[in-house]
């Protein structure tokens, strides 16, 4: 590979590989490889605050079996997890704990808000002194799953959507539009 004469990119914006002819192809393939690995081994945190957690367990059990999509390794510590499923309502006493758990997950990290309570406070939106009106007041959410509780199929659909989102990521070309 010789040094490229193309000047349409700012040299400092890209890794050194991109300056060579064919370098971007390698980067694209690397992205595809890394995203393939990441999207098929998203490990959720064992975290359930209310009845949606029961549905989450059902998704983990044999009938629905989230292992088909690489989500089966629910970790009991955020340091080994990639993703947090907020399955249930978050109250004001729980909110700092949720924030700390999210901060302890290593990047890249993803959040699924499962059920009406995690999306918006749900049935506890009005006249409740204790429930946070949506978990996105505390941490950023990637996928919202409506339902009270959502069917296991809905959570599986959210898993697939999250995989699509992960597969679109550009890990090596930081300044390209994602």
């Amino acid at each position: 590979m010789g040094i490229s004469t193309k000047k349409e990119f700012e040299t400092n914006d890209f890794p050194i590989l991109d300056q060579y002819e064919g370098g971007s192809i390698i980067l694209t393939q690397l992205d595809a490889l890394v995203n393939w690995a990441r999207a098929n081994s998203v490990w959720p945190l064992t975290f359930g605050t209310r009845c949606c957690a029961i549905e989450f367990m059902a998704v983990g059990a044999s009938r629905h079996d989230m292992a088909r999509f690489g989500y089966e390794v629910a970790r009991a510590t955020p340091r080994q997890a990639d993703m947090i499923i907020i399955s249930g309502s978050i109250n004001y006493k729980m909110a700092p704990v949720l924030k700390r758990l999210y901060d302890q997950i290593a990047d890249p990290k993803y959040v699924i808000a499962m059920g009406a309570c995690a999306v918006s406070g749900g049935p506890f939106f009005y006249n409740s002194y204790s429930i946070v009106k949506g978990a996105d007041h505390v941490i950023p959410v990637d996928i919202y799953v409506p339902g009270c509780p959502p069917r296991p199929e809905a959570l599986l659909f959210a898993f697939l959507q999250l995989q699509k989102k992960i597969k679109r990521e550009k890990n090596f070309k930081k300044n390209l539009v994602k």
Binding site: Y92, K93, F125, Y126, N127, S128, Y129, S130, K133
Partner: protein
């Protein structure tokens, strides 16, 4: 004992107690000053033997706060509902029944936490769920401009 026998027994033993037949259970309303004596008698008398405090709950009424005790006897399989009214909503204090039924300790802490009923002689009357500076959120006149979206 049947509800009728219980009613006859209690009205003879405690003249101050109001007795009313509810939908399912016999309901007695005890003056706050007699609460501890009545509770001790219900537990320790052999033919009553209410040894199981099923539930202890608080109710917010406009004039006063009521505490309701659901009692069962595992020996005789009879059931009784005992109600106590506090003096008013500001000065809401009644005696504890912790020493009679030890399970009441946490139940009374919860009622104190959410409704602000003070239980005299309670060994450890701290907040159970909420922070110290929180109000009593299950009272009807509780307001919280920050957290509550009112409707």
């Amino acid at each position: 004992m049947t509800n009728e026998q219980l009613s006859a027994y209690l009205s003879a033993r405690f003249p101050d107690v109001e007795i009313k037949q509810g939908v399912q259970y016999l309901e007695i309303t005890v003056p706050a000053v007699n609460l501890h004596d009545v509770a001790r008698h219900l537990k320790d008398t052999a033919e009553l033997a209410f040894d199981y405090l099923v539930c202890l709950s608080g109710v917010d009424y406009p004039e006063y706060i009521s505490v309701v005790y659901h009692l069962e006897s595992t020996k005789h399989s009879h059931f009784l509902v005992m109600k106590v009214k506090t003096k008013d909503r500001q000065d809401s204090s009644i005696d504890t029944v912790c020493d009679v039924w030890p399970t009441a300790e946490f139940h009374e802490r919860e009622v104190y936490d959410l409704l602000g009923v003070k239980f005299n002689n309670h060994p450890d009357l701290r907040r159970l769920f909420l922070d110290e500076n929180w109000g009593f959120p299950l009272r009807k006149d509780y307001v919280d401009e920050v957290h509550i979206v009112a409707r």
